[in-house]
Amino acid sequence: MPGPDKETDLTERIEAFLSDLKRGGSGTGPLRGSAETARETTALLRRITAQARWSSAGDLMEIIRKEGRRITAAQPSETTVGNMIRRVLKIVREEYARSRGSSEETDQQESLHKLLTSGGLSEENFRQHFATLKANVIEAINELLTELEGTTDNIAMQALEHIHSNEVIMTIGRSRTVEAFLKDAARKRKFHVIVAECAPFCQGHEMATSLSKAGIETTVIADAAIFAVMSRVNKVIIGTQTVLANGGLRAVNGTHTLALAAKHHSTPLIVCAPMFKLSPQVGRLSSLNSQFTICISGEILSKVNVHCPVFDYVPPELITLFISNIGGHAPSYIYRLMSELYHPEDHEL
């Protein structure tokens, strides 16, 4: 029977994806970029939609939520997975509402007026069955996938609006988005890039070699020299792991120091982040500690606490601009974008 085969096939794929995530996140930092993770998650969700057994939108949402909880538990630091799941849930809601015929706007917003006049929350249990729902959802997910394919290019296209010639730009660590952004600008303009190496993993080295091969004048500096050279920097352009709902960032270790130094010198801090990195979480998150080898001799290593946080929280006051695939925004606008992308009930999976 095709059903059970499909199901086993599906569970196999989910397991494979989970183990990939676990391996990728442990110890040495994310092995692949967030864009890839986002695409794979979305592809997996499409498969679930296509192959899993469900009859109504509510069932589908339950299945997605269940799998989603398992996946996010496997790798909590990889927030893009959770973001994609929430996006798909929102897609499902939208398609359901469209099939039912009611307009999307009024259903989704819980306005004060609605609360007072309707006398309680409208119970929307998504139990109705629609034949075309599956096809519509899969089509919408495909659209989402095409959007994901083009995010890096969309961001890179905006590079020339922000970089003029003979600038000195500083960045930290390795971000594929920023790399594409700078390479695109380098086709037409000449500028200088300073890369902070971001110890202990030193992803900055890879970034620097890649940029210098594209013909950009690059300099690698140690993390300790960030403040020392900041006075000659015109712009700071960084990538991030997550954009939080309050406009803050959860970015690689050392970004907060960079942001403070930029603020001190009144240098604009620009964050290149595609929309799928927006996460409904707010405020400081508990940072992960990762293992890394430093050359402390064994005898004192037992008496010493070693901390190696992977991420930093950067408050929104230090950020000047967000550049995403839909354009540029101020940090104060992020909450609004959030409400367009995710449904409030999905914030907690």
Binding site: A222, D223, F227, H264, V306
Partner: protein
Amino acid sequence: MADSGVTDEPGTKDDVHRAKTEGKELSKEEKQRLRKEKKQQKKNKEKKDEKASHESEKKKNKEEKPVSAAAPASQPPTQPSTQKAPSAVPAPAPVPVPVSETPALADKPAKTKADLKAERRARQEAERASKQAATSKPKAPPNELQPVVKRLPEHVQVDNPGVLKKLAKKLERQQIPLRLDYGYKVSLFSHLHQYSRKAPLTQQLSIPSTVIHPAIVRLGLQYSQGIVAGSNARSVALLHAFKQVIRDYTTPPNEELSRDLVNKLKPYISFLSQCRPLSASMGNAIKYIKKEISNIPSQCKEEEAKRKLLSCIDCYIDEKIILAAKAIAKSSIEKISNGDVILVYGCSSLVNHILCEAFEKNIKFRVIVVDSRPRLEGREALRRLVQRGISCTYVLISAVSYILPEVSKVFLGAHALLANGYVMSRVGTSQIALVAKAFNVPVLVCCETYKFCERVQTDSFVSNELDDPDDLIVTRKGKTQLEHWQDVPSLGLLNLVYDVTPPDFVDLVITDLGMIPCTSVPVVLRVKNVDQ
């Protein structure tokens, strides 16, 4: 006319004598011509100028005093350079000559050879003075408020080919090899040297080196390889090496110890600055030694002079470094209380000393050691503190904003304190001070007064040290990304050693003179200068 005729003949004879005796500067004819002209001038103005000359002599004395005070020591102090003086000089000087000449004429047959010699000497001096006056006329008059012309040190003028040539010539003269720069230099720092650790200067020296004392060669190698690092350690090592040099020194015949020893030290200092640019503390120590050496009285015997110098150096080390550390520790311990979490950066001998002393006094605190690539000096500090039993945490500098909410105080060491209140220290210090300020954690800098420096600087670019760029290369996950950085034309590595922290990030500076704000550094410098 008869007078002039009579006076001319002995004048010409004297002229010939004078020409024979003097003879070096001017040719005979020129001298004779000059003298004849002046004699005619003198006789015409003799009586008129007698009174005027007395007045102008007084004026000349007065002028010479302020002129000699204002002019720097390099110019001969007796050189009168105002417009008035040249006219005053030949007037009084030649005036006594004809005065002496006329009685000489009268008593000419009764004159002895000694008198003639005295006359000749007076005339020679007059001619010399007049010649100097003649040549010094085009010179500009010096002001009372002459600006202090500081020579820019060579090590911040690498992009100036003239300066490089001069340096090469100087080193050739002193028989010290020139160290070549290595690798692609970032354009912002093209005015600084960048050396490779793999090519120490000692490889280019011949063995045995006759010019440089072996203790200095060893010291230079230790500096360039980073074996002796840290401001205090470098100064103490330098002073010990100089002590050895002084012990092995013998004054060559016909030379004075005070001048010759200073000249002997100059090539050593050039060699050491080629191995690694001198630190501010080393510069101050060298100034002190040179002053002590030149203050040795010339009648002092060699053994006694050497003993005196050695004891001076010991005294300097004891006072400025060891006792200062004790005084600073005493003041700092008042600032450490029970339950404190203290953050330190890198390895500062002074800060480690303070923490160990505080631990001895049974204050309960814990320490967070912040470290940075590529030097990773924090490991040494960690080792010293853990050996004493202090509970420590270790982080890299990128994690400072993660760990800072736990911290109650930040203790930083300094390489030098500049006269505008900026703190020059290991690169990364300003970053820590910045983040501490953002989290409202007090920042205390500990520094001995001998590290106070008269320079001013506002950013970390104009004067800094570039370390070996290859230090930044590292292997992670089996890959060495920057291994072939030299092959890529647009890639540069920057390994800075120092940076400057603005005074608004620093809350307190603890010195052996007490606890002062950062802005009081020029006051301390002035007090020290007045003392000396």
